[in-house]
């Protein structure tokens, strides 16, 4: 499973988005491959990592088979991991 990742621009993030990305990537190793989303790429899922509740990253330019999964809080990490693991099953 290929997951395209899009970060918000990080103007005032309430947690370390980069660390969260690395942690999710590590946790999903062998289940899903996480890559930075690129236009023209085809993904199974799009993961949008926002820094705050506004979660303002634009993502309509990316193609994913299933709708985007959004997170904007460190506390969402577990949910994201669970959701993606479940999809793989």
């Amino acid at each position: 499973m290929l997951v395209g990742v899009k970060f918000c621009g990080g103007c005032n993030p309430r947690y370390d988005r980069g660390k969260a990305y690395e942690a999710i990537k590590k946790e999903l190793a062998g289940t899903a491959e996480l890559v930075i989303a690129e236009e023209g790429g085809e993904y199974d899922f799009l993961l949008v990592i926002g820094g705050c509740t506004n979660c303002c990253a634009s993502y309509s330019q990316y193609h994913a088979k299933h709708g985007p999964i959004k997170m904007w809080d460190e506390a969402h990490m577990d949910d994201v991991i669970k959701k993606l693991k479940k999809q793989e099953e």
Partner: protein
């Protein structure tokens, strides 16, 4: 060309032959000059972050001209969402540099010239708008930095351009040729001018027919014959020239830059001329540029404010005063003031509207309110920061003293460094060097080189306070407010 990164930007500057004077001498290798380099590193961050996926959403945009991804600094705002992202990008860069990163004036000039040329062409059948679009495509394609140059030296403030004793005190057209124009004069206080590949010139005030030779807008490469720059001094600037300068700089990586840009009969080819004597549009261009730039401060100053608040909180920690309730309250006040500025930046963006040319303009009233607050709140923020930090901000010995191994001739036989470290230790477990670093940072931003960008630029940049009050008076809609009051109290007429 794809987006440049920071290193590529710095290399691109080396290809320019820009003429720079500093301390009365020409500086040939200005890219590596210790007083100039921090401002280059700072501007380079606008390139570096555009290549980082963690920041690209704010730092880049899709060009409406070419459909390609461009640095947001050369983008024409296509929606209120774009205007909001602009402010967020500026906050981000303020946070990452704690300095003026210099590229905003160009972005604000692009958007103002784009919409104004459209309206000039509509009235006069000129072709400025198409020329400007081609020019901007070139800027976007090559990922260039462009200085948005508006402010003239202005001479006697009580007189119009054409009434000045020296006609060069406002930049003007001195000759019109079949293939272009020749201009003469200067632009003062130019942010990042030396670090810019190009200059985009605009008139500085609304004008009458008598001033039509001064109603001129054009773009020019920074290193053409007849164009040169005289570097502006900043408080404590020669600290950057000291050997191995580090802690005493307060910010050893980044800084701002301003210069006087002189045009000594410079030829501008027609395809780079965007206003030539259409004096009735000078006011529109000034108002639009100033409006965007007053919005800009609701982002960049807020980002710098974020770092100041963090530094003040660390100073309190290091001093051991962090538990005092008034310190906590002062940090709250600083945050409140800073976020109020941000609210203004976001509000004038969210209330933006499309111009006739199609790009988005901010709400003028709210942008002027934003800038009026910027003329005040940063001063209160640095006052509170100085309060929290303590007097050592201005009385601390130098880094060399702290590191000195010279033995003092006294009974204890300790070195100068040991004495400094003994008497400037504060909270347990905090190295005195860390305390020095934070206090020097605050010194730099409150009254050193960085105060240029955080204080005086907040006051005068994008227009002195009175300029906003004039706009607030014009946009304030007092008549409607009178009607509201009449309706409530029952006055019929």
């Amino acid at each position: 060309m794809a987006l440049m990164n920071g290193a590529q930007y710095i290399e691109s500057l080396r290809k320019l032959d820009t003429k720079v004077y500093l301390f009365g001498e020409e500086v040939k290798n200005w890219v590596d000059h210790p007083m100039i380099r921090p401002s280059i590193e700072c501007l380079a961050m606008t390139y570096e972050l555009a290549n980082d996926p963690q920041y690209a959403d704010l730092m880049t945009a899709k060009s409406n001209l070419t459909g390609k991804t461009v640095n947001r600094f050369s983008h024409l705002h296509q929606s209120t969402g774009d205007l909001i992202k602009k402010v967020k990008m500026q906050r981000l860069l303020g946070q990452k540099t704690a300095s003026c990163f210099q590229r905003c004036v160009g972005m604000d000039a692009f958007n103002a010239v784009f919409s104004t040329t459209f309206e000039i062409d509509k009235k006069y059948g000129t072709e400025y708008h198409e020329r400007f679009k081609k020019y901007l495509e070139f800027v976007q394609e090559n990922d260039l930095t462009v200085d948005g140059a508006m402010t003239d030296p202005k001479g006697d403030r009580g007189k119009a351009p054409s009434q000045q004793a020296d006609p060069d005190l406002f930049l003007r057209i001195v000759e019109k040729r079949a293939d272009g124009i020749v201009v003469r004069g200067a632009k003062a206080h130019q942010t990042g001018s030396i670090n810019s590949h190009e200059h985009l010139i605009m008139p500085t005030i609304a004008m009458s027919e008598a001033d039509k030779a001064y109603a001129v807008s054009f773009a020019i490469q920074s290193d053409v014959p007849g164009l040169f720059m005289i570097y502006g001094r900043q408080s404590c600037d020669t600290r950057k020239m000291e050997e191995n300068a580090d802690v005493d700089l307060g910010n050893n990586k980044f800084g701002g830059q301003e210069a006087l840009v002189v045009f000594d009969n410079v030829f501008i080819p027609n395809d780079r001329v965007f206003m030539c004597e259409e004096y009735d549009f000078a006011g529109m261009l000034v108002e639009r540029f100033a409006g965007y730039h007053r919005q800009s401060y609701g982002g960049c100053k807020v980002g710098v404010g974020d770092v100041i608040i963090g530094a003040a909180a660390l100073a309190a920690d290091y001093n051991g005063a962090h538990k005092a309730s008034h310190i906590k309250d002062k940090l709250i006040e600083m945050t409140h003031l800073n976020e109020t500025l941000y609210c203004c930046g976001i509000a004038c963006s969210a209330e933006g509207y499309p111009t006739q040319a199609g790009n988005y303009q901010i709400d003028l009233l709210l942008a002027n309110v934003c800038k009026q607050n910027v003329t005040r709140f940063p001063y209160e923020i640095v006052r509170l920061a100085e309060d929290i930090a303590g007097g050592l901000v201005v009385t601390m010995p130098s880094e060399k003293d702290f590191k000195s191994t010279v033995k003092v001739e006294s009974e204890s036989g300790m070195t100068v460094g040991e004495w400094c470290n003994k008497f400037f230790a504060a909270a347990p477990g905090v190295p005195t060097e860390d305390r020095m670093r934070i206090l020097r940072f605050l010194e730099n931003i409150c009254l050193g080189s960085a105060a240029v960008g955080y204080r005086t630029e907040s006051l005068h940049g994008a227009g002195s306070p009175q300029a906003q009050r004039i706009m607030i008076a014009r946009q304030g809609n007092i008549e409607m407010k009178k009607e509201l009051a009449k309706a409530i109290v029952g006055i019929k007429k």
